[in-house]
């Protein structure tokens, strides 16, 4: 029999899911990111047009979302490295809370700055 979905309802499994989904979304975003950066070399005017277009609330919200995903993926990755490389003494759930906290802070700071 397969794992029942109810068995996955615990913080570390949700952390895995967030890490996986943020990783996939960021991977999909990267080519687009490089494409826009590439405009700086090939067609600066077009890039300016693009930035003008991007200067609207919905895009800003999407950018904030990306920053949150990036922060989640980064802190989640640091958490995993700590889990793998440090000796264990029962601080594993605190680490998860720290990762989630830093993610929220990054999102709030970004929203405040833009």
């Amino acid at each position: 029999m397969k794992t029942d979905w109810r068995a996955r309802n615990h913080p570390a499994w949700w952390a895995f899911l967030v890490h996986r989904i943020s990783g996939i979304v960021l991977t999909l975003f990267l080519p687009f990111h490089f494409w826009v950066l590439g405009m700086a070399l090939n067609d600066a005017a077009r890039m300016d047009d693009f930035f003008a277009w991007a200067d609207r609330p919905l895009v800003k919200v999407a950018e904030a979302g990306l920053v949150i995903l990036l922060a989640a993926h980064l802190t989640g990755g640091l958490r995993l490295m700590a889990l793998e490389f440090l000796a264990w003494r029962g601080w594993q759930k605190d680490l998860l809370a720290v990762a989630a906290g830093l993610t929220v802070i990054a999102g709030v700071v970004f929203a405040y700055v833009v």
Partner: protein, 238 residues
Amino acid sequence: MSDFLTVRVWRGDEQGGFQTFEVPRLESQTVLDVVSHIQRQLDPTLAYRFACRVGMCGSCAMTVNGKARWTCRTHVAKVAADGNLELAPLAHLPVVRDLVTDMSAFFDKWARARGQFHPTATRKDPFARIRPDSAQRINADAGIECIGCGVCYASCDVVQWRPDYLGPAALNRAWTLVNDERDGAQAERLRAVAGDAGCHACHTHLSCTERCPKHISPTAGIAGLKRAAMKAALRGDL
């Protein structure tokens, strides 16, 4: 507390289905008490396993309301406050019948992970002196109380995704031996657990750690194996 529990119990093999029973609710009732009541009073053909009833033998694990648990030490009040219980065989193991799984694959993997102790001394030699406060002794202690119940194995997604994965219990066992100074099969063991189906396949979901009824963290041991394998590889020993 209502007077009766509604208990859905898995019947048959993998293609089976749930059958519902009404079981009287009692004070301090364990999930195993419920299963025993059904088998003794309602349907003697129900197949299930238990032996010690006190959390030592590791034979009574089942899926209780979706989560793998030892049933002899799981109180109904804790898992079925609303009076509904759903009992199924452990996941990731072939179902023999009803609540009984074939655990051979689970235990074969302990052997594949070199879970046997390989002595380096004979009975004529003096006792090995291991300091209780040495890091290795502390590491081994953290994993040594495993009762082989299979709860971690049934909770691990990686076991489902790649059936050859050695799994948390076998790797936890290997880790206790990696920390046993008296053992003489260290290189073979590290080779056995460092393959694709070994410690590096673990995704650190921590489901095993979350569910182990003995509060062991196989994930911690697996992380230790990853570090040991990495160090051995850097030394060129792997």
